[in-house]
Symmetry: C2
C-alpha cells in the first residue's frame, strides 16, 4: 500500500472513530495493554533483531539502550496505556453554549482532529505511547518510526492493530509506514486535507527534514532555552535550591534551565553560594565578566560566556550565568534570547512577580518554583506528546486536549437570514 492509500484509509477510519463512545476507545487501549503483556515474547524477539542489527552497525551504547525493550519496559508501557485509558475523555466536551439573537441554539463541541501522524526516532515505546494518546482522543494514527527499530515497531503495531480491531474499532485507525526512506516522509508530509496533523518526536534533523517539505500542519516539540531569574527581593536560599534543581534534576530535558540571571543588588551575596552549589553538582559554568568578578576564589573554575551562549540550549550539565541591573533587563534578555518555553523568577515582590509573568513571552512562567514542572503529568494532564513553543493551537504541554479541535453545532427551527 502506498502512503496515500494508508492515509486515505486512515481518514475513513477517523470518521468512524469520531462517532465512537469513549468505552470503545478505552476498551481498545486496554486491549493493547493486555496484548503487550500476552505477546511479549514475540515483541521481544523482533526487538532483539533490531538490537543485533544496531550493534552490528556500530550504534553507540546510548542509542542501543533507547532501542532495547525487555519484560520490565514492556510492562511499563502497558501500564502507561492503561493509565491513559483512565483519563477523562476530551471528546464531546461542550466548550460553550449560547442562544444566538437569531434563536439558534449554538454549542461549540470538542471533536477529534481526524488523522494524526507521528514521526519519531529510535525509541520503539513511542509506537504504543503515541498510538494510545491519539486513539484515546478519537483520532486515527499513522506511525512512522525509524528504520533502525523497524522490526520492533512492526511487531508492536501489529499487536496494537489486532487489539483495536478486536475492540470493534476500524483496523485502519492505527497504521504504520515501514519503507523508512525519505520519499515516504515527504509523501506523508504532503497529504494535505487527509492528514490533519503531524507531530515529530525527535531531534533537530528530523524537524528540519519535515519543515522543508511539509504542507500538512505540524506541531514541533520545543527546544527549551529556559531561564531562572533571581530578583533583588529574592529569598536567596530558595533561589539557590530552585536554580540548582532547574539545572541538575534532569539536564537532558527541555524544561531544564540553561541560564541563570542574577540582579546586581543580590549578586555579591548570592553568586558565591549558588556557583559553589552548581560546581559541587558537576555543572560546567559559563559566566559573564560581572559574575566572574564577584565569584571570589571560584572565579578560576568558571569559563567565559560568549554571545553565542545566550540563545543556546545545552541539554547538558552546562549553565551560563549573567548579572543584570534590573528586572526590565532580565525580561528583555529572556524575550530576546529565550525559546519561549519556561522561565522562572525568584522574588518576594508581588509587583516584580506580576511584571515578569505579564511581560515574559513564554509558554510557562513560574514564580518561586523550578522550571522543571513544565510537563503534562505535573500539569495534571495525565500524559503528553511533548511541549510546544508555538503560539497557535497548542502552547506548552501537548496532551489529549491539544489533539482535538472543535465544531459549532447549531439547532434551529427553520431560521433563514434576512
Amino acid at each position: 500500500m502506498s502512503v496515500s492509500d494508508v492515509c486515505a484509509a486512515a481518514k475513513l477510519a477517523a470518521r468512524e472513530l469520531a462517532a465512537t463512545p469513549r468505552e470503545a476507545r478505552d476498551a481498545a487501549l486496554r486491549g493493547i495493554a493486555d496484548a503487550l503483556d500476552a505477546r511479549s515474547s514475540e515483541i521481544l524477539e523482533a526487538n532483539a533483531r533490531d538490537v543485533r542489527a544496531g550493534e552490528e552497525a556500530g550504534l553507540g551504547d546510548a542509542l542501543i539502550d533507547r532501542l532495547t525493550l525487555n519484560e520490565d519496559r514492556l510492562a511499563a508501557i502497558a501500564r502507561d496505556v492503561r493509565r491513559i485509558a483512565e483519563l477523562d475523555d476530551p471528546i464531546g466536551e461542550v466548550i460553550e453554549r449560547r442562544t444566538l439573537d437569531s434563536g439558534l441554539e449554538m454549542t461549540r463541541v470538542r471533536v477529534p482532529l481526524g488523522v494524526v501522524a507521528i514521526v519519531y526516532e529510535a525509541r520503539p515505546n513511542v509506537t504504543i505511547d503515541a498510538a494510545a494518546l491519539t486513539l484515546k482522543s478519537g483520532n486515527a494514527v499513522v506511525l512512522r518510526g525509524s528504520s533502525s527499530a523497524a522490526h520492533s515497531n512492526a511487531a508492536l503495531a501489529a499487536v496494537a492493530q489486532e487489539a483495536v480491531a478486536a475492540a470493534g474499532l476500524p483496523r485502519e485507525a492505527l497504521s504504520i509506514l515501514t519503507s523508512g526512506d525519505r520519499d515516504e516522509l515527504r509523501e506523508l508530509a504532503t497529504q494535505e486535507g487527509v492528514v490533519d496533523l503531524i507531530i515529530p518526536r525527535g531531534g533537530e534533523g528530523l524537524k528540519k527534514a519535515l519543515k522543508d517539505v511539509a504542507t500538512v500542519p505540524i506541531i514541533y516539540a520545543a527546544s527549551g532555552n529556559c531561564h531562572v531569574y533571581v530578583d533583588a527581593d529574592a529569598d536567596l536560599e530558595m533561589a539557590r535550591e530552585i536554580a540548582v534543581n532547574a539545572k541538575v534534576n534532569r539536564p537532558g530535558t527541555c524544561n531544564s534551565a540553561e541560564k541563570l540571571l542574577v540582579h546586581a543588588d543580590v549578586a555579591p551575596a548570592f553568586l558565591p553560594d549558588v556557583l559553589g552549589a552548581l560546581l559541587d553538582e558537576g555543572v560546567e559554568l559559563r559566566a559573564d565578566a560581572r559574575t566572574r568578578a564577584l565569584a571570589g576564589p571560584l572565579a578560576d573554575r568558571l569559563r567565559d560566556a560568549g554571545e553565542e551562549d545566550w540563545p543556546t540550549e545545552y541539554l547538558a550539565m552546562v549553565m551560563a550565568v549573567k548579572v543584570v541591573d534590573s528586572l526590565d533587563e532580565a525580561i528583555d534578555h529572556v524575550n530576546t534570547h529565550g525559546s519561549g518555553h519556561s522561565e522562572a523568577i525568584v522574588t518576594r515582590s508581588d509587583e516584580a512577580a506580576h511584571a515578569f509573568t505579564a511581560r515574559v513571552d513564554s509558554a510557562c512562567v513560574y514564580v518561586n518554583a523550578s522550571t522543571r514542572f513544565t510537563d503534562g503529568a505535573e500539569f495534571g494532564l495525565g500524559a503528553e506528546m511533548g511541549n510546544s513553543t508555538q503560539k497557535l493551537h497548542a502552547r506548552g504541554p501537548v496532551a489529549l486536549r491539544e489533539l482535538t479541535t472543535y465544531k459549532y453545532v447549531l439547532h434551529g427551527s427553520g431560521q433563514v437570514r434576512s
Copy 2:
C-alpha cells in the same frame, strides 16, 4: 525601512502592547474613529488618486467600486471601529485555574499572539477594519495592502498610527508596508519568530502566493462548498425556504450553499417545488440524472451536473442538486466533496440530526437553519476576520479570541522537582 526592520519594531511594540490595559487599547480605537471623521477630506483626496489611476489602468466597475471611499463609507468604517472598542476584552481572561499536586497555583491566561500581519487586496476599508481587531486583541499589526490602493492605505494608516501614538501606545503597534512588490510578500512571510501570524484576505491567487513561500503560521480564509441536505423526515416547506435562503440571500459569500442533497423518499414531492423556487430566483441549476427525472416540466431548464461540480465553490447564483438514498450517503458526500465550512440538515428526526451533526466533519453544522448564519456577528462575536476551515487553532469565524494564544502562569513557594 526594510520589511524585517518594520517587523522587528512591531515585535518590540507588541511586547509593550501585551501589558497595556484595555482602556488604552480602546482609547486608541476611539481615537482612530475620531480621526477618520476629522480628517476625511485628506483621506478621500488620497483615495481619489487611487481611483483615477485605477480608471486609467482600466480596472472594471466592480473593482473600482471596491476601491472607492466616500463620506458615508468612511463614516461606516469609523462606526465599526467604535463598535469593536465596545466589545469585551479577550486579553487576561483566565481560561482555567487549578492547584497542582505539587502545590503550584496554575492559571492559564489568554494573551495576545504578538505581531499579526494582514495581507489584503484592493478594499481600503480592510486597513482600518483589520487594524482595529488586531489592536483590540493586544497585537501589533503589520498591514500589506495592494498597490492599487496604495495612496488610500497610506493615508488611512498614517491617520490611524497618529491616533495610536496619541493614545499612548507605541506608534510601531501599527505599520504598513508600501513597496507592493512580490519580494516584500516573501520577506514578510518568512519573518519566523518575529511575525506570529499572517492572515490573507483575498482570492486564491493571494493564498497560493503566500503558501508557496511562507514559514510564518497562516490562517487561510476559507472556501465554502456548503451543503443543504433535505432528509426523509424533513418539513418540506421549511426545507424549501432554507435551501432558497442559503443559496440566494448573498451568493457571493463563503457561507452560501452550493449543493442541495435530497433524500429519495421525499424527492418526488420536494424537487418540483424547490427547483421551481430556485429557478424563479434566477439560480442556474445543475442536476444529476435522478433529479432531472423527477423534475417534470422543469427538466428542460436544468443543466447536467458533472463530477467536477461536487467539489466546486461557485460563489454565484449556481446550485447543483443530487438525490441520495440515505442519510449515510448524504454524510459521505459532504465529507468527500465538501470544504469543511458549513452544512445544514433539514429534518424532524432527532436521530438523523444527531448523526449528521456528529459525523459531518465541518466547522459549522446546522439543524433546520440556513448555512448563511456562519458569521462572527451572527455568532455574537462582534466582528470577524473571515472564516477558517482549518482544524488547528481557529475553526469557523476568526474573531478577537482567535487572535490570541494563552500562557501558563504558575505561582509557587519554592517548589523543586524530585
